[in-house]
Amino acid sequence: MSFEASRIVSDMPQNAANALDGYFSIKVADDLFGLPVTRVQTIFRIGSVTRAPGGPRDIVGLVNLRGKIVTAVSLRRRLGLPYEEAGSGCLAIGIEHGGEAFALLVDEIGDVLSLAPDTAIAPPPHIVRGRAKFAAAYHRVAGRILPLLNIDAVFDFSGDR
């Protein structure tokens, strides 16, 4: 059994002045989400994954990020999208939530967008309940609707046990 280390893509300085109101656009399958830059600590490609038997389905397992154990969560699984077995090489965003270090596995990470309050729109009313909780707000940016990821909901597994 060989171990593969996680590889850092970029470290996020926590207080980058230009990023205070910025949002990463992240992509899973055909879905695009906004993620506050301030919440992102690291972007990395995960190494070997240790599964956590009996844990919530959406938790892929545990990975070693520079000597720290982080809980890897598949956003695809979280959203109920088709997924492949997550493993070494998957793109991940390091986010700390509730005192726990998480790696959120996504397909792509795009540009940083600046969102103004006036681009916010009311949530579309027909979004299925399973999905609706994962969006904190909706913005219309460049003709496209961008839901902002509700990080609290993504990392709240109390309903999945």
Partner: protein, 862 residues
């Protein structure tokens, strides 16, 4: 110098300084109630500690000072005289403290002048207060007196234990005096706990990184790298050691509050109790010190309360009037053992048995078979207390279970021994630290796990050689020397997926563990390593997983989960008491009558076969050289007797090496059923479509979309009996009415095997038709849950039709309602479908009893 004394000095110096500053501030702001309360607390703390340490002079001084401050707190005016008196007292305390630091002794100067001064001020304050109604003034000094434990002011009963801490202390004090006594304050600094934890955490990370480096360079022959790395490695280890030691504290810290407690207990209970502590300097991780405090306190309380007899009783028994509670700590093999023993009456076995019966924890038969040790262990059951009267000390039945749980939670164990009339002894075994633990790295289905070594007893090879896993009543059992251990597969307990490529022979090793009173085994594929692991707690999202206590990073950088032996024990279902286990099984039977535990296996070339697991007494692996051919029959030695073996299908052959044999024991003549391989054991509902043309097959069932054949055990029973041994007498004929084909066949097989001729009917109408065709049935078995008219109704109709045979009501479970209804319907008896023996006995009784009557009846009919 005594560790505690050192700490006391460091602490008191700070407190005294704070107190004098605050006193001065109070003089200026007498309206500040918070300030005086804080001063009172400071002095009170010092006084309390003096009490523990037996510093009588300081205690008297601080007691007097406290009285005065107490008066101030109750509203007396802080006149300059009063404040001066307090400050003077503070100065005197400081002087005594200095002397104590210097010589390790309090010095024997007289403080009566100071005490007199303080008392004078107190009475002046009291006089001042006399006009007002005294709010809480009276109880206050009383409680102070209780805490202060001044021998002169105490009740005589309390006086006895008071001098008791002296011996332990007497030994410590001269040792302290011998040490260099200068500059104590410079030697200790107080570190914020968080800082210490942070250092510990960093060191842990460093250890991990070092391990990783070592792993990487293990195969490299680079000398320039090797020697600095070697140095780094040694230094890291030393650093880790040093930090660990910084976290270590003498166990004495927990012992410190015991003398007080024992003293109070002795007073409350009117007993004479001596406390002896030993090995207080044994060091333990500070985190653990806090964690064992409550369990230890509880056990000591229990000894004092339940163990030690009242003085009169002790004298009558020829024991010294004063009982002894001994608390001893020692360090052995990476563990700390703390023994709490008393010389009291020991555990009351009879009362424990009584209570266990009353609580339904065991039956009298079970109790009869139990060793004393096993019986004593009941005191760790929740809600178990044999104390006749609930004192404020103990006897509320909460506690011992909590004690055991708390100790187990930190990877420790509690052992218990007791000799009637001579006392009992609790031994706590506690790991030195929680942060770093040796662990086995085990592998199951390609995934590695760390298993803390503290609960591992041994690892043995299984499935081959002398240790073999057997199925007993559907559960895996390992016979290891004298012991019969429950055993489970780690992969199954954790429901691990199969890896893509399976590596080697799976589950060849059983790791035997002991958690509290339970010993059990876990099978794994391999033990790959033994490592010191740095235990890190699980993150919040996975914390609820009982099977894991944390995670860690191994030398190669990979993350592994740390198995929690307690969680594994629970996963194996070992916490259930026998009674709940039994009643749940009953519920399962009643609730899911159609769902059965089935063994699913391969035999011969056809489709896979199934059997109700209840039909299989045991599963054994029999080596081919142990199977002999005799008179056209296979035989093997089984428990000292020759047991016939029949193949489960005509084309099942004995294989070279190990063969799987189901031991089937319909009565006391067991036989073996040779199969090819066990595939699974499942709880399933079966839809049986009767086919029955092939011999030995009851029918074909649809099993999760796969066609399987249900074996007819009766056929094999017949096959296994040579004509000589078969005592089949088909004289009694039974009519079996049941709408469920499965039970019809299962029961008919059982009945036929027992020598009855069985005619089956699947409905009331069919039953009536069968009786009409041929009235000669010796007994009729009716499922009372028939769909077309309840069974009771059928019974009535059969009677109307002139049938005189005794009838037996069959129900999934012979509840009282069923029995009553059956009686009302004129049926002879009611019995549960699964109570095979009872059913057979009943039938035999009915057939025997009614034989004459039946002959008469049939004679009339003819």
């Amino acid at each position: 110098m005594d560790e505690m004394l050192k700490e006391f000095l460091a602490e008191s110096a700070e407190q005294i300084d704070a107190a004098s500053t605050q006193i001065v501030a109070f003089e200026r702001h007498p309206e500040d109630a918070g300030l005086i309360a804080s001063i009172f607390r400071l002095v009170h703390t010092i006084k309390g500690t003096c009490g523990f340490l037996g510093l009588n002079r300081l205690q008297k001084l601080t007691h007097a000072a406290e009285n005065l401050i107490g008066a101030l707190r109750e509203g007396a005016k802080a006149t300059p005289e009063v404040v001066s008196a307090v400050l003077a007292a503070v100065d005197r305390v400081k002087a005594v403290l200095a002397e104590l630091e210097e010589t390790g002794q309090e010095g024997d100067s007289d403080d009566s002048d100071m005490i007199a001064l303080l008392e004078r001020e107190v009475s002046r304050c009291k006089g001042e207060l006399a006009d007002e109604p005294e709010p809480a003034a009276a109880p206050e000094p009383a409680s102070i007196a209780a805490i202060a434990a001044l021998p002169t002011s105490e009740a005589p009963a309390a006086a006895a234990p008071a001098p008791e801490p002296a011996p332990a202390r007497g030994a410590a004090a001269p040792a302290g005096a011998a040490e260099p006594a200068h500059g104590k304050r410079a030697e200790t600094i107080r570190i914020n706990l968080i800082t210490l934890e942070r250092i510990m955490q960093l060191v842990s990370e460093l250890v991990l990184t070092r391990n990783q480096l070592l792993e990487i360079t293990r195969h490299k022959e680079d000398e320039t790298l090797k020697s600095p790395l070697q140095r780094l490695s040694t230094m890291t280890s030393d650093l880790q050691d040093a930090v660990m030691r910084a976290r270590m504290q003498p166990v004495e810290r927990v012992f410190a509050n015991l003398p007080r407690m024992i003293r109070d207990l002795a007073t409350d209970l009117n007993k004479k109790i001596n406390l002896v502590t030993d090995g207080g300097d044994t060091e333990l991780d500070r985190q653990l010190i806090e964690l064992i405090r409550d369990p230890l306190t509880h056990l000591v309380r229990n000894c004092a309360d339940h163990g030690i007899e009242p003085p009169e009783e002790r004298v009558r028994l020829g024991k010294p009037a004063a009982g002894t509670v001994r608390v001893a700590a020692s360090h052995e093999a990476g563990q700390i053992t703390i023994e709490i023993s008393d010389d009291g009456r020991g555990l009351n076995k009879a009362r424990i048995q009584e209570k266990a019966l009353a609580l339904g924890l065991a039956t009298p038969q079970q109790l009869g078979r139990m060793s004393d040790e096993e019986i004593y262990r009941f005191i760790f059951s929740p809600g178990f207390s044999t104390a006749e009267k609930v004192t404020n000390v103990s006897g509320r039945g909460v506690g011992m279970d909590v004690v055991r749980e708390n100790i187990q939670a930190i990877g420790g164990s509690v052992a218990l021994s007791s000799t009637p009339g001579h006392g009992s002894c609790f031994a706590l075994k506690i790991p030195l630290t929680l942060a770093i633990a040796p662990a086995l790295i085990v592998e199951a289905r390609g995934q590695r796990f760390a298993l803390p070594q503290h609960s591992v007893v041994e690892a043995v090879g299984v499935n081959g050689g002398e240790h073999r896993i057997e199925f007993v009543q559907g559960s895996k059992i390992l016979q290891l020397r004298e012991a019969v251990l429950p055993i489970g597969s780690l992969a199954e307990l954790l429901t691990l997926d199969l890896p893509e490529e399976s590596c080697g022979e799976p589950e060849q090793l059983a790791v035997i563990m002991r958690v509290g009173a339970h010993s059990f085994g876990i099978t794994v594929d391999a033990v790959t390593d033994v490592q010191e692991i740095v235990v890190k707690p699980m993150g919040g999202s996975l914390q609820h997983l009982a099977a894991f206590s944390g995670h860690t990073i191994l030398g190669d950088g990979s993350v592994v989960l740390i198995l929690d032996p307690n969680g594994l024990r629970e996963a194996l279902g070992l916490e259930q008491s026998r009674e709940t286990a039994a009643s749940e099984a009953d519920v399962a039977r009643v609730g899911g009558a159609d769902k059965m535990r089935l063994i699913y296996f391969q035999a011969g070339a056809g489709v896979d076969k199934i059997l109700p697991l209840s039909n299989v007494a045991r599963i054994e692996t029999v080596s081919s050289d142990k199977i002999e051919q005799s008179n056209g029959m296979m035989l093997t030695q089984h428990q000292g007797r020759l047991m016939p073996i029949v193949p489960a299908a005509p084309d099942v052959m004995v294989k070279e090496g190990d063969n799987t044999v189901f031991v089937i024991s319909p009565d006391d003549k067991p036989f073996g059923l040779l199969v090819d391989a066990i595939l699974d054991i499942v709880d399933e509902k079966l839809d049986i479509e009767i086919a029955g043309e092939a011999p030995g097959i009851v029918g074909v069932a649809n099993f999760n979309g796969v066609v399987v054949e249900l074996l007819d055990i009766a056929y094999f029973i017949d096959m296994s009996r040579t004509p000589a041994s078969a005592d089949v007498k088909r004289e009694s004929r039974l009519l079996l009415v049941d709408d469920a084909a499965f039970f019809r066949d299962m029961l008919s097989a059982t009945l036929q095997a027992s020598g009855f001729e069985v005619v089956k009917a699947e409905s009331g109408a069919q039953a009536l038709a069968r009786v009409a065709q041929n009235a000669r049935f010796d007994a009729i078995l009716i499922d009372v849950e028939l769909p077309d008219g309840a069974g009771y109704e059928l019974a009535a109709r059969l009677r109307e039709a002139g049938c005189r045979a005794p009838m037996i009501a069959l129900a999934p479970f012979a509840s009282r309602e069923v029995t009553r209804a059956a009686e009302a319907a004129g049926m002879a008896a009611a019995v549960g479908k699964f109570q095979r023996n009872q059913l057979l006995d009943l039938i035999r009784a009915c057939v025997g009893d009614d034989a004459g009557e039946f002959a008469f009846a049939s004679g009339v009919a003819a």
